[in-house]
């Protein structure tokens, strides 16, 4: 949350990324950058291309145009500087994998061979479980945990490799409001304490407003980025969507509404669409 010095290190630079899948343009000339210690929200409705963009950054999808620089270099397949928390993992409650086992896989899960028991490793896992408040269910099977608990274990898994950039794909989508708020607060604290950059995708920006340093707003495959004040404005978003939209602020919450401006207050026309 604290304002970053102008010279903060560029962790991630996305330059003119375009992706088309079977003739359809998913992303078109998307550019933005993320600096150390910043919390960036990647906001867009379903189908706006958030997951595709994250997959391009992770190297799971090849862009048809543009490039991604991580720490100033084109990313290789093996990039330890990025931690990734996927949208959803399907784990059977019967799967014999405890929360602490999943966190431990964050240290050496990519290595071949059988791990030897190591005290140092166990301590690192305990420390990370403590950092995400997951000690209470450290020995439970991951498949039996609630959505919010799983999310925290996955965050610990991603963080234990000491990444400089943490990518999260819709971490709030499966959570109730309270668990979502807890995850957001946790991420904000971690970004601050460890000076890592957080890039989090969500279809709803309001839960992120208190912690978001920058926003990348995706609509129709194109992106606008900057601070919330710079991006979430009538002119910027109307240009992005390609039709007229209006930004309303109600009790500190932001509503983006399509259609011509009505009188101030709640929209009276039932055909108006809240985006």
């Amino acid at each position: 949350m604290s304002p970053q010095p102008e010279a903060a290190r560029q962790i991630l630079e996305v330059e003119g990324i375009g992706v088309s899948l079977s003739g359809r343009q998913i992303l078109d000339n998307v550019s933005f950058s993320v600096r150390a210690g910043e919390f960036t929200g990647l906001i867009g409705s379903n189908g706006a291309g958030k997951t595709t963009l994250l997959r391009v950054i992770l190297g799971l999808e090849r862009p048809s145009a543009g490039r991604v620089l991580v720490l100033g270099a084109p990313r290789g397949r093996r990039n330890r500087s990025m931690g990734y928390v996927p949208q959803k993992i399907m784990l059977d409650p019967d799967m014999p994998l405890r929360a602490r086992d999943l966190v431990a896989l964050g240290i050496d899960g990519t290595r071949f061979g059988i791990p030897l028991p190591s005290r140092q490793r166990r301590e690192a896992v305990d420390e990370m479980l403590h950092a995400v408040d997951a000690e209470g269910f450290a020995d439970a099977r991951v498949g039996t945990l609630s959505g919010g608990e799983q999310q925290r274990v996955l965050i610990a898994h991603a963080l234990i490799g000491r990444p400089q950039l943490l990518l999260l794909d819709e971490p709030l989508a499966n959570l109730d409001l309270k668990s979502g708020q807890e995850v957001v607060t946790l991420l904000d604290r971690i970004a601050d304490e460890q000076q890592i950059a957080v890039l989090l995708s969500a279809h709803e920006m309001n839960p992120l407003l208190p912690v978001m340093d920058r926003i990348v707003y995706l609509a129709g495959g194109r992106a606008a980025s900057g601070t919330t004040d710079e991006v979430v404005r009538d002119d910027v978003l109307s240009a992005l969507y390609g039709y007229e939209v209006h930004v309303h602020t109600l009790h500190g919450r932001i509503l983006v509404v399509a259609g011509p401006m009505e009188q101030p207050g709640l929209p009276s026309d039932p055909t108006l669409r809240v985006i």
Binding site: K88, R98, T110, F112
Partner: protein
Amino acid sequence: MRWLFESGFFASHPVHVACLVGSIVAVVSGVVGVFTVMRGQSFAGHSLADVATAGGSGAFLVGISPLFGFVAGGVVGAGAMEAIGVRRARGRDLATGIVLGASIGLAALFLYLSTTESSTTGASQQILFGSIFSTVSSTVPVVAIFSVLCLGIMALVYRPLLLSSVSTDMAAARGVPVRVVALLYMVALALAVGLSSLAIGAILSTALLIGPAAIALRLTKRIGWAMMAASLSGVVAVLAGVLLAYDSYYWSPSHASWPVSFFIVVIVFLGYLATELPFVSTAVTRQRRPATSDASEAHR
């Protein structure tokens, strides 16, 4: 104990070979089976067994040890499934079904030719339902080599495989060569199915692969322990099966031994049922309070 161990059990050479081969196979099946159950690939395991049937019956027809046929068939099948079923689960399902149908057809032809041309009547019984008592001593080293190879692959890919079993994307994002790991695992699975086919027959081989693993997953929440528990319950089932089959010779006046595979499969099945007993299952599953913060889970 005389009533349990019929005379000559401990002195019989076929019994020695059967116990040795059966135990090795049970350990391999237990280790691989835990991953098979965990990854939800029981059906793939069963399909590999069908492909192995074609290989095994082909080997029988040309007069070499069915084990080579089982393993060769399984490995080729694993490669084919992995190659055809790229990416999407639906494609994988379809590819598996197609490979499976073709191989059972081949097996039908080979078994038919074996019975008609060389008038060997035991072909179907031996290939499909196993014949651990007729395993010759010279097969033991081959069983050992395939087992070491299979366990070696599992040890090699253990961590990346575990990571990709949790999430392929997560593993791929961290640089795990997910397709290579999946292929290696399929080869290990093919080896395990081949070995298991030798012990209890191609049709029943999945019982030894899936059953003990399913029992183990009920009993422990740690993967290493699950592998040990699966191996151990497999060994117990095999040894008890061999003993009962040997004893069954004396059960009826006509002195016809019942098949070993029948006993092994029944013991595995009973073991699985036992883990369903209330006091067994609650001991493990009562490890967690019900989820509290998941009210919105139903939305998606």
